[in-house]
């Protein structure tokens, strides 16, 4: 780790940026207040954690049993929805191990919201309204994952054969040598990052929707041919700002996905995460149809302020924390 130097006590963001950040937070709360959303707070140290192949939570030992610093407040907010919440939002810290770079800080500010009864289209509309209110760059361009790949990478991400995906992935800079031939999602991610994402939201925001079913995470899969996940993401200037789902309601499907993710984690050399959770119990008792979105607030500030690194909008990034 970098040793501390004499200037390390100072913030990396200018005061102007911190004022701007505080102003944006006021506007964000007004946005949700005007739409009847209730602001909630949920635990950061939880016995439950999201199980994702590529998300690594910090664990804290509390009297011999693990508590997980939340990678997002998703589980607890869904428990509120299962017990009657109509429309809720939260501004919270989220923690993700090893995510450190120009656009990442292991501890960051997340805005997450849910509204009962929303379909994916409703969820996209709400995200678009928020993007317009915060960024003032007009309505977002809405493009399906499939169309974006066809347009920018010349390949159908849902039906392409593995060999075609690999050929498309090798068109730009060299992919990681360890990317396995049969790692379909790995190749799709590589093409997304290298060839598609740079074209998303230059000037005008873009919302990508209908992800491959294999990348559903906690979204519902729409069973058409080929099936797609009702998941959507907001991009501005090629930067990913928010991720939303038409939420998965079926506890059995969640259980299966948890197992699949844990198998993949173990194969990747990572520890499996606890599969039983209070969310599963809440879903068994009945989670109402809803859509929800998580948005990286630091990145929203960055994009709105025209900054190109996250530390320009953080008082004290990780290496000065």
């Amino acid at each position: 780790m970098a040793g501390s130097s004499s200037a390390d006590f100072q913030p990396t963001a200018h005061w102007q940026a911190l004022h701007f950040r505080a102003g944006l937070l006021i506007r964000l709360r007004e946005f949700f207040h005007q739409r009847g959303f209730l602001e909630v707070e949920t635990p950061l140290l939880s016995a439950d954690t999201v199980i994702d192949r590529h998300l690594d939570p910090f664990v804290v030992d509390v009297s011999g049993s693990p508590r997980w610093l939340q990678t997002s407040p998703e589980f607890a907010m869904k428990r509120l929805l299962a017990t009657g919440a109509q429309a809720i939002y939260q501004v919270t810290k989220a923690f993700r191990r090893e995510e450190l770079g120009p656009l990442h800080n292991p501890e960051f500010t997340m805005v997450e919201w849910y509204r009962q009864g929303d379909t994916m289209a409703d969820g996209i509309d709400l995200l678009d309204s928020l993007s317009q209110a915060m960024l003032e760059r007009g309505p977002a361009e809405r493009v399906s994952y499939r169309d974006a790949f066809l347009q920018h990478a010349g390949i159908d991400p849902l039906t392409a054969e593995p060999a075609q995906l690999r050929a498309a992935g090798r068109r730009g800079s060299a992919p990681p040598q360890s990317l396995a031939d049969d790692d379909r999602d790995g190749w799709l991610d590589w093409i997304l990052v290298e060839q598609v994402q740079p074209h998303l939201g230059p000037g005008r925001p873009a919302i990508l929707y209908d992800y491959p079913a294999s990348q559903a995470a906690l979204a519902q899969v729409r069973h058409e041919d080929p099936p797609v996940a009702e998941r959507f993401e907001l991009f501005v200037d090629g930067i990913e700002l928010a991720n939303g789902y038409h939420e998965l309601l079926d506890p059995d499907v969640l259980h299966t996905r948890n197992q699949t993710n844990n198998h993949a984690r173990v194969a990747d050399g990572k520890q499996p995460l606890p599969e039983d959770s209070r969310l599963l119990v809440a879903m068994e008792s009945g989670l109402p149809p809803c859509s929800g979105v998580a948005l990286g607030f630091d990145r929203l500030v960055m994009v709105a302020a025209g900054a190109d690194r996250i530390d320009q909008v953080l008082a004290f990034p990780f290496d000065r924390a």
């Binding site: 590529h54 995510e99 800079s173 990681p176 997304l192 990052v193 990913e240 050399g269």
Partner: protein
């Protein structure tokens, strides 16, 4: 052999690939949505100075390169070979003309340089940032023209040709920035 995991990756790391030493000059963390974390790196070959792009998945590792920087005294040149001596161990090291690269322009006998060793073999040498060299020959100064922006070529004692201001004369000593090859000032003996 020691190795670095992706979470250790940072600018300035010295690593080894296919037996060659590289310096990590850039490392950017990117992570697509719910996807795998990637480290997009630029690596400079420490001998050839070529730069390559490599992307690593989270969890991969690179071997550490056994690269050491020592103080070495320049002794003499023999044909295409430059001979240096480690000031502490008195061990002698030979570098080829190609490995010395542009540094030959500034090398004076007895000069203390910084030498890079890879697996205990010398791979490059860097002279001090500022060196004093004597002008062996240049055209006489044009009288009355004292402006520093009028320049001329001058041959210095190492045999290199440098650009100096018009007022500099043969036999004078000048201070030179070895990183840019630029004249800094005249030095009184």
């Amino acid at each position: 052999m020691a190795s670095y995991n992706t979470s250790d990756f940072r600018k300035g790391l010295k690593v080894q690939m296919d037996g060659d030493p590289y310096l990590m000059i850039e490392c950017n963390f990117v992570k697509p949505g719910k996807g795998q974390a990637l480290y997009k790196c630029k690596l400079r070959h420490l001998i050839r100075n070529t730069v390559i792009d490599r992307t690593y998945k989270s969890g991969e590792s690179l071997d550490a390169a056994d690269v050491e920087e020592i103080d070495a005294q320049y002794l003499y040149r023999q044909g295409d070979t430059f001979v240096f001596m480690d000031n502490e161990s008195y061990e002698q090291y030979e570098l080829t003309e190609a490995a010395v690269d542009d540094a030959w322009k500034y090398l004076k006998e007895g000069m203390i340089c910084s030498m890079l060793l890879f697996n205990n073999n010398p791979i490059g040498v860097t002279p001090p940032n500022h060196v004093v060299l004597q002008i062996e020959y240049c055209e006489p100064a044009v009288r009355g023209n004292t402006a520093t922006n009028v320049t001329k070529p001058a041959k210095v004692e190492t045999g290199a040709e440098l650009i100096v201001p018009n007022f500099v004369e043969t036999g004078e000593m000048i201070r030179v920035d070895t990183r840019t090859g630029e004249y800094i000032e005249r030095v009184k003996e």
